[in-house]
């Protein structure tokens, strides 16, 4: 008996691209034609000879001939056939690619073809692992051992059945002649490499999270849905429009400035941790690092929004503003953010402090916003809610963007940090080093430690930046005179 969740399992079977499986079936069957299909040869082994081994080059030639495409496309198509499990490689069984040379492949038996209806279950995998365990006398590969232990724990209630079935299947397999036995073992191994891939094997059946709806089912759109769709489109027509040349221009500008910073389009320096399991990139770009990377500093110059959202950039901006004695805008902006994102219970207290510090006439850090906004904000502060300071915050943001930001970009602070910023070398790992990296993956810094560091920094900042009393500073300057 299988423990099944109440929610229906709509995983792999309902991905739209498994619609292609019926067509792939037809193509693979066509490849079998004795006259027009792919030419096979024999595979010579120590113990026996097995027919029906095909060279990768022959398959690719047949595909490009049949579908009238280029060799590159035929190679990609062939790789997809291998990744779905219709053809399996005889040498190098873990790499599911089709190579355009004499490396040998063989067709998978239709019993092991991928289908939309039958998902290989954990109990099937457990039986296979137990069988392989018997055959290899305990010498399973590390990922298989992990899976075995996991399944032994979770399928414990039917483990006796699993072992019994595995033993019987093992004995049944031994009754066949040697060549057939080798072929069946190869087929089964290839099937499970596609369906439970080991690390760094890319099989096409790895599809990601589940869908809640079944895309194969035709959905009837109700009258109410049509009514809402009509209202939506009517409102859309009434909205003010932007010329496509303008919006496309903005999109192009965005892409040109950001394309070197996208980890999918440009290589990530020093190396992408998701690919190489080496977390130098993350440690170099942490929140409170002394010397940021060049890419990060370049990103700050794109817009004030980038500068402020990167907290390290915000620190740098604060340093610059301290020198200019115009830190109150940023302080107000930060206080407004805190109000927006903070807890509901602290809101009224925060609103009070903000009013006293920034908005009241004669306040120590009075911000210079226009009269209308000031009036609206003060009135709203009588009954404070999360977004009372929205208008004032936007105004202050615009002030900073139009004036202070450009001064910052030209300032010696920014130029200095640009010079200091480091540009790490790209890593070049060999496969052995990659394995080593994968083994040395650690859990990283505990979030509690990070939180404690943040609290300490906040306390220090609060102590250091007691409200700068303009009068005190002015009197100091007077005294100097």
């Amino acid at each position: 008996m299988t423990i099944r969740t109440a929610r229906p399992n709509r995983g792999q079977r309902f991905r739209p691209r498994t619609h292609c499986l019926k067509k792939l079936d037809a193509i693979v069957v066509e490849m079998q034609d004795p006259k027009n299909g792919v030419k096979g040869s024999e595979q010579k082994l120590n113990v026996t000879t097995i027919p029906h081994a095909i060279a990768g080059a022959n398959i690719i030639a047949w595909i490009s001939n049949k579908m009238k495409t280029t060799t590159e496309e035929a190679q990609v198509f062939g790789t997809m056939l291998v990744a779905y499990g219709y053809i399996y490689p005889l040498q190098n069984h873990r790499k599911l690619v089709m190579c355009n040379d004499s490396s040998l492949y063989r067709f998978q038996t239709p019993y092991f073809w991928p289908t939309q209806q039958w998902v290989p279950e954990d109990s099937d995998y457990a039986i296979y692992l137990a069988k392989r365990n018997i055959r290899k006398k305990g010498m399973l590969e590390p990922y298989e051992q992990v899976d075995y232990n996991h399944l032994h724990e979770w399928l414990n209630h039917k483990w006796d059945f699993i072992v019994m079935q595995a033993t019987e299947q093992y004995k049944a397999g031994r009754d066949r002649n040697k060549a057939d036995r080798v072929v069946f073992d190869c087929q089964e191994r290839a099937f499970w490499i596609v369906n439970r891939p080991p690390r760094r094997t890319h099989s096409a059946l790895d599809v990601g999270p589940e869908r809640l709806i079944n895309p194969n089912v035709e959905e009837k759109i109700t009258f109410d849905q049509y009514r809402r769709v009509n209202i939506f489109y009517q409102q859309a027509i009434m909205r003010s429009k932007v010329k496509s040349s303008v919006s496309l221009g903005a999109l192009v500008k965005y892409i040109t400035s950001y394309k070197n910073h996208d980890a999918f389009l440009a290589p990530c320096l020093p190396s992408n941790p998701w690919e190489t399991d080496h977390d130098a990139y993350w440690t170099l770009n942490m929140r409170r690092v002394d010397v940021p990377t060049k890419m990060r500093v370049e990103r700050w110059s794109f817009s004030l929004f980038e500068l402020l959202t990167d907290l390290r950039g915000r620190d740098d901006f604060k340093v610059f503003l301290k020198k200019e004695f115009s830190g109150e805008n940023l302080a107000f902006w930060e206080a407004a953010e805190e109000l927006k994102w903070g807890t509901a219970s602290s809101m009224s207290a925060k609103a009070e402090t903000i009013f006293k510090t920034f908005l009241a006439p004669g306040a120590p850090r009075w911000i210079n916003i226009d009269g209308r906004t000031m009036g609206l904000t003060v009135k709203g502060l009588e009954h404070p809610h999360r977004y009372v300071l929205e208008a004032a915050q936007t105004h202050v943001f615009m002030l900073m963007k139009k004036d202070t930001f450009f001064r910052y970009l030209k300032s010696p602070t920014y130029k200095e940090i640009q010079k200091k910023a480091l540009s790490p070398e790209a890593h070049n790992f060999s496969p052995a080093q990659l394995e080593e990296n994968a083994r040395n993956r650690s859990a990283g810094i505990h979030p509690i430690i990070l939180w404690q560091q943040e609290e300490e920094e906040k306390a220090k900042a609060a102590a250091a930046s007691a409200p700068v009393d303009v009068k005190a500073v002015m009197s100091k300057i007077d005294r100097k005179k």
Binding site: D33, Q91, Y111, K158, F161, Q165, Q169, A172
Partner: protein
């Protein structure tokens, strides 16, 4: 007093006998279903033939008879457990057999569905349809499996003769039976524990020196100077022997 004790002992002995019979039947069911799977794995491949399909049918019919007999006996066993006072161990043993039987039926059912789909996809009705069979490298069908299946001996196979259903009806019948069985007997299947620890099956089967797949796939390559080095036709062997 002693007569009562004797009757209780008889009852227990009877139950143990029935449980042992059910265990043997379960083993036989596993054997037959694994033979069925070997046959089904050749469907649609170059080893497919009408002979193979007949063999598959016979295996399936045998499995059907074992299933029906076993389900009846297990139901009787479990309902007896409910009515009469029973030791906890006995009840656990019966529940374990129940869970194993249901798992086996589920597994067999999925194999049957797959086989039905494949037979629909690769009908062997005309001579030309042999062209569309997939060249998998298997040449002859599983020959020894018929002998293996014939060795299965269950007491009720001879005694109870029943009409054997064809494939579609078999699947429908099994599905109905599975649903009904799960509803009729309230067994908490997660409370059943396995009697074997992990990795134990290696020791049970350690008698035969079976070569692993990697050994079988080695190819001898004569190197220039000294002797010959064994070169695996498989990948370089490094990834297979790690860990």
């Amino acid at each position: 007093m002693s007569r009562w004790r004797r009757s209780v002992d008889e009852l227990t002995a009877g139950r143990r006998r029935q449980q042992a019979e059910c265990e043997r039947a379960q083993n036989a069911l596993s054997r037959v279903t694994s033979c069925f799977q070997q046959l089904a794995a050749s469907l649609g491949s170059s080893a497919d033939s009408s002979f193979l399909r007949e063999e598959m049918d016979e295996t399936r019919v045998l499995a059907h008879r074992i299933c029906s007999g076993l389900s009846r006996r297990l139901l009787r066993l479990l309902s007896a457990c409910d009515s009469a006072p029973v030791a906890v161990d006995d009840r656990h043993a019966s529940e374990r057999l129940w869970v194993l039987f249901l798992s086996a039926v589920e597994y067999f059912l999925s194999d049957l569905r797959r086989a039905k789909e494949l037979i629909g996809q690769f009908p062997l009705t005309q001579r030309s349809s042999r062209r569309s069979l997939v060249n998998t490298g298997c040449t002859d069908g599983p020959v020894g499996l018929a002998a293996r299946v014939a060795l299965v001996q269950i007491p009720w196979l001879v005694l109870e003769e029943e009409p054997s259903p064809d494939l579609t009806n078999h699947i429908a019948g099994l599905e109905a039976q599975l649903g009904e069985l799960q509803q009729r007997v309230p067994v908490a299947f997660w409370s059943v524990e396995s009697t074997q620890p992990a990795w134990a099956e290696v020791l049970n089967n350690a008698e035969d020196p079976e070569e692993s797949l990697e050994d079988l796939m080695e190819v001898e390559v004569a190197s220039s100077g000294d002797g010959s080095t064994k070169l695996p036709a498989c990948c370089r062997g490094t990834c297979c022997w790690v860990g």
